[in-house]
Amino acid sequence: MRIQSVTHFLQTWLTPQYRLMIAALVTLVTIGLFMSYGVKASWEFTIMFRGKKLLTFLIVAFCIACSTLFFQTLSHNRIITPAIMGFDSLYILIQTLLVFSIGSLQYAQMNEYVKWGLEVFVLVFASSFLFQWLFIKKQLNLYILILIGVVLGVFFQSISGVFMRMISPTDFAVLQDSAFASFGAVDFHLLMISALVVLFILIFIVRNHHKLDVLALGKFTAINLGVDQAQLTRLLIIVISVLVGLSTSLVGPVTFFGLLVVNLAYFLTGSHLHRFLIPMTVFIAMITLISGEFVLQHVLHYNTRLSIIIEFVGGLFFLSLVIRKKIA
């Protein structure tokens, strides 16, 4: 009874606008803490050093949040994410195949922007094909779709594994540098690319968020209401691929992070409108990543990696989603 009244109170008084404000505040506080806690070296150095890290977190959080949310809107469910469907593994496979076919010398000498553009272009192409084939050609039920996605991911990883064994150690080092960039060292070129991507996505959101709301109602409803569903789907796949390409090249694959933050956002936003959902998801992703890193650094003293924790918690969450059948 009391719980009901509390939720009722929350629903009536805490409008999505207020909730967003709170999320933004918490994000700012987290950032402030992260930047200022326990500074031992000079301020300049700390700001530079932590700033780089912070920037990576913010970009990755933004990318994973948006790509997962768009993907779920597109596929009309709350459990499949690009990472679970093997998109990240596909990106790494593409990178591996490029290194393998071009050879590391040429690959390393290639212009960074051309290289990244090429990778993402191939990813867009491959993932559109995959998406078309899985979601449109074959009307599969949700569980088999997820299972196919998971196995596809394993399949891509295995192929990458075979090719990684076949390239020389120097090539492998080049590949590892590009496939698993660490949070510490952000590449200047990647930062420029990130800025472009974020700008491009922001424009996309401003111009299309209402269309996404309509798309979420289902294919036929969307077409009835005058949204060019086919075109929007194509555009969304491109956007998702670009985002996956960026987040994977920055930190490598993180399987369950998107699933966790998006589901939290659905729960906390109190609205189905994308203009609330998108910023909320991004804020939650930022808070999670930064506070997670903060706890690792100052409480656990780097005794583990953030990705391992996310994998563990996310895996359990995913299991509970499947078992309790709470899939929209």
Partner: protein
């Protein structure tokens, strides 16, 4: 049927011969070559056959116990639980003999697999794809625990190298435990009928006079022992126990007493084939068989999933 069995037996023999002759050293009639075959080539080929046979049989038993076509030791947390046991032994008793490590690995994998099977009984909706899905995620969660511990103990790389299915280190005197797995597969064959019954479910098989819980635990022990032995000896060979029984089942149905020998033979053939491939792709260097099997196995798994529709 006779034709099929004859051709599969011939295939296994042919692959074994190729397997013995593939390698950097060319064989000819001399004492040196003879030693090489006895010490390295023959043990390797035997180890491959034993692993192929026993893992496929373990896959079939697992499928009967979980009443699902898409499970096998790598999709039920069995392998991860065994790995966790080995890791704990590496941390607490690094000097223990292989037998002790094996025993602990088997105990943890029995616990881990048993927990998974109990979890399955709790799932109300038993669509046949949900079971492997839960299994893969469950294995992933245990995998995260393994990574967590290994990372803290700085054993990440050794765990990684050591769980990769790889037969390049097999020599005479370093694979004999696999015979144990082979013997277990033969023993399993004598109780094949009971597993077939158990696959009908608890109520039906109890009605037919089967001691369901007894056979359940028996199957669990066999699967865990086989998995433990192969993980300790050669590392993980993913999806083998999943694809082989399915292929055999498509051809000849689900009466285990009839199909189990075929499962064993096809499993041996597939592992031999993958190993030859793994040795030839990048000759003279080797690719671990686990990686090659990962590609072929997950590819076949995808085919099986899409074929269902």
């Amino acid at each position: 049927m006779k034709k099929i069995s004859f051709s599969i037996v011939m295939l296994v023999i042919m692959l074994s011969i190729i397997s013995i002759f593939v390698g950097v050293q060319h064989l000819h009639f001399s004492a040196e070559s003879f030693d090489l075959v006895l010490l390295s080539r023959l043990p390797r080929t035997l180890a491959l056959i034993l692993a192929g046979v026993s893992l496929s049989v373990a896959g079939v038993i697992m499928q009967q116990l979980a009443r699902n076509k898409f499970v096998e030791p790598t999709t039920t947390g069995t392998v991860e639980s065994a790995t966790l046991g080995m890791l704990l032994m590496l941390i607490f008793y690094p000097d223990a003999s292989v037998i002790y490590k094996l025993i602990v690995a088997c105990i943890t994998s029995i616990i881990g697999t048993g927990f998974f099977l109990l979890l399955l009984r709790k799932v109300p909706l038993r669509s046949d794809v949900i079971v492997p899905l839960i299994g893969i995620m469950y294995a992933g969660v245990i995998g995260a625990v393994i990574t967590f511990i290994a990372y803290r103990m700085d054993l990440l790389q050794s765990i990684w190298v050591w769980t990769q299915g790889d037969f390049s280190m097999i020599l005479k005197g370093r694979y004999e435990l696999l015979w144990f797995a082979g013997i277990l597969s033969v023993v399993a064959y004598f109780t094949a009928d009971k597993f077939t019954l158990a696959g009908l479910g608890k109520q039906v098989s109890t009605n037919l006079g089967l001691n369901y819980n007894g056979i359940f635990i028996w199957g669990l022990v066999i699967v865990s022992l086989i998995t433990g032995v192969t993980v300790v000896n050669s590392g993980i060979i993913p999806f083998l126990g999943l694809v082989v029984p399915n292929i055999v089942s498509i051809v000849m149905g689900d009466n285990l007493r009839r199909s189990l020998p075929f499962v064993a033979l096809v499993g041996a053939a597939l592992v031999l084939f993958c190993d030859i491939l793994a040795r030839l792709i990048n000759f003279p260097y080797e690719i671990p068989i686990g990686t090659v099997m990962g590609v072929i196995g997950s590819g076949l798994f995808l085919y099986l999933l899409l074929r269902r529709q």
